[in-house]
């Protein structure tokens, strides 16, 4: 009986293993593993697959979904994906530690990394206490000592620090409690904290609840660029595939840039049907209002102009250095490598498109 027990256990185990669905990888095209988050910059390849754009592409896509940047970076280190899009902070960490190449800008997220208060907050009484920053609400005295909820070491935190700087304050003047977005919203809703740091699409939910925006990356003149990137080893081994992949990705970006009205439906479907969020149509419409998108030529210009993408990244790196999150040595190495920006793939794509025309 003992033996039959053991063998039945093994059989059950095997049964479970065999019941697992096999990956649908029919064609013998090389596979590019794409990573994405429940965010506008994750939608491109998902939509490409739905819309049939990949039929003529020389690669097959495998789509990997991550709730946030930390697991996405860990999976990058584990060789789990090749190309994808992440926020600035994970992109920077991945570049510093794993040589991840930044090959494009998914969107300008400065406006969608924002800071909110409840409608009865005293911060709302004053606007533009520092005339150089007219869109920041509240006086330095209003901000001082406030309890702020939100994820630390994130682009949202960067926007917050920039806001505090603009008012002549620093992180030490306020009480920052580290919480993930979902938890922070639950807590803020229950009356905890005075200020909350969010980003889209959660900030649209905040707006729907009647909370008021008191600052954002844009208001604090901190430019936050979402990164498109590629794993270093993959870029070295298959540079052409990266360009092919970028071609499809940029097709998605250009669709959203040129036809926002027609892109609402696909993005809504990505958020609600695939990611399991529950966004409304007008929230998704705001995505296109707040997020600036770059076409291929704008991308190249921004990447090559030292006053733009490199400067934006330097801003984030300064913030990380000042917070003691990275060492001076890491900072110098990162800056010396030009922030791991590599416009060559985008340029190749531009050449290829020009030749095709």
């Amino acid at each position: 009986m003992k033996k039959s027990l053991i063998s039945s256990l093994i059989a059950a185990c095997l049964g479970c293993a065999l019941a697992s669905p096999l990956p649908a990888d029919a064609a013998d095209k090389p596979v590019v593993r794409t990573s994405a988050q429940p965010c506008l910059h994750g939608m491109e390849l998902w939509h490409a697959e739905k819309a049939g754009w990949l039929k003529d592409a020389p690669f097959a896509s495998e789509f990997l979904f991550f709730p946030s940047g930390a697991p996405q970076t860990e999976a990058l280190a584990a060789d789990q994906w090749d190309c994808g899009a992440m926020g600035t902070v994970p992109t920077m960490m991945a570049s510093m530690r794993y040589g991840y190449k930044l090959i494009g800008i998914s969107n300008d997220e400065s406006e969608t990394n924002d800071i909110w208060v409840r409608p009865d907050s005293p911060l709302l009484k004053t606007r533009g206490a520092n005339p150089d920053y007219p869109d920041i609400y509240g006086t330095p005295e209003d901000w001082k000592g406030k309890k702020i909820l939100g994820p630390t070491v994130s682009t949202g935190h960067y926007a917050l620090s920039a806001t505090l700087h603009a008012l002549g304050l620093s992180d030490k003047d306020v009480d920052i409690v580290h919480m993930e977005l979902g938890q922070a919203m639950t807590a803020f809703n229950a009356g905890e904290g005075d200020i909350i740091v969010l980003w889209a699409p959660q900030s649209y939910m905040a707006e729907a609840r009647g909370w008021k925006k008191v600052s954002s990356g844009t208001a604090a003149k901190a430019i936050i660029a979402g990164g498109i990137g590629v794993r270093r080893e993959f870029a070295e081994k298959h540079p052409d595939l990266v360009v092919d992949w970028l071609d499809v990705y940029m097709r998605g970006v250009e669709m959203m840039k040129n036809d926002p009205a027609g892109s609402v439906e696909p993005l809504l479907s990505y958020f609600n049907d695939y990611c399991g969020l529950e966004l409304s149509r007008d929230m998704v419409e705001k995505e296109f209002k707040y997020r600036y998108l770059f076409d291929v030529n704008e991308q190249i210009a921004a990447m090559e102009d030292p006053a733009r993408l490199p400067a934006w990244l330097r801003g984030v790196a300064d913030f990380m250095l000042e917070q003691g999150r990275i060492s001076q040595k890491e900072y110098d190495r990162y800056a010396q490598a030009n922030f791991h920006i590599d416009p060559s793939f985008m340029k190749k794509l531009a050449e290829r498109r020009a030749a095709a025309r």
Partner: protein
């Protein structure tokens, strides 16, 4: 069907003889402790070697030498996570102890009452059984809504995990009370409450102690979940920040600190329990 009371008695006497056997065992086993040291050293060397010779990728695992370096460094360097290692450990210990104490104060009496009074058992048991399988992390949003984001909410998460072994073990402990003693007390005219306090509870103490040990373990292992709620210090927070900064070395230092402190606490409690049990046997 076997007489349930008889089997309980047998189990109790069996437990006592095992206790003695265990003491003998530990005495002889102490002489072989060098094997443990050698094995642990070999484990570390193996770990170091697979990293040095890149059998696992450099991103996948950090060699123990680097972990130790960082560990020492973390006692004097607050960067990059904003606090020293012992500050993180102290914050976590405080939190775990708060949850643990709440669990003992509420869980032990509840378990004892459930074991003694069938009415309490029938009322509380279904709820207890229903709540038990829900993982503590799932309570995070509820804890935030009810208790906010401070220590009470985090201690509540820990309490939920720590409270289960307290209840189960006190319940079992009191059910194992020698029925002869109960009958004797009754014959001498003790009321049910007196019997419960004077006979039931003292005889359940060893089991309660085991329960508290398990409960402290549970409290300590729920720490990371509790610090997921909100934190600006603590070992769970250290791990979270290590993830955000893509620093596997910080993550491993956090994990191992939790591991060593946990092992240390179990060891201490076993020591206290051994002393406690031997003094009981003498009386």
């Amino acid at each position: 069907m076997r007489d349930p009371i008889g089997s309980e008695r047998a189990a109790a006497s069996e437990a006592l003889s095992l206790e003695i056997e265990k003491a003998n065992y530990f005495a002889t086993a102490a002489r072989e402790n060098w094997i443990s040291f050698v094995s642990f050293a070999l484990f570390l060397i193996f770990w170091e070697l697979i990293c040095r010779f890149e059998i696992v990728g450099p991103y996948q695992l950090v060699p123990p030498s680097e972990v130790v370096t960082l560990f020492i460094d973390k006692f004097s360097n607050a960067n990059p996570d904003g606090a020293l290692l012992y500050q993180h450990a102290a914050a976590s210990l405080g939190l775990a102890l708060a949850g643990f104490l709440a669990a003992v104060v509420i869980g032990v009496p509840l378990g004892l009452f459930m074991g003694w009074y069938p009415a309490v058992n029938m009322t509380a048991r279904p709820l207890f059984d229903a709540i038990r399988p829900i993982p503590p992390i799932a309570w995070i949003p509820i804890a935030i809504l009810w208790l906010g984001i401070g220590t009470p909410a985090k201690a509540f998460i820990i309490f939920l995990a720590a409270f289960v072994p307290c209840v189960i073990n006190s319940y079992t402990g009191i059910r194992l009370t020698n029925p002869v003693l109960i009958r004797v007390a009754r014959i001498y005219g003790a009321s049910n409450w007196e019997t419960f306090v004077k006979i039931g509870i003292p005889s359940a103490i060893p089991m309660i102690f085991t329960g508290m040990k398990l409960s402290l373990n549970a409290a300590w292992t729920t720490l990371v979940a509790a610090e997921l709620l909100a934190a600006s210090m603590g070992l769970g927070y250290l791990i979270q920040l290590g993830r955000r900064l893509a620093r596997p070395d910080i993550i491993i230092v956090g994990m191992l600190t939790i591991g060593f402190l946990g092992a240390l606490m179990s060891w201490l409690l076993t020591r206290i329990e051994a002393r406690f049990a031997s003094s009981r046997r003498l009386t």
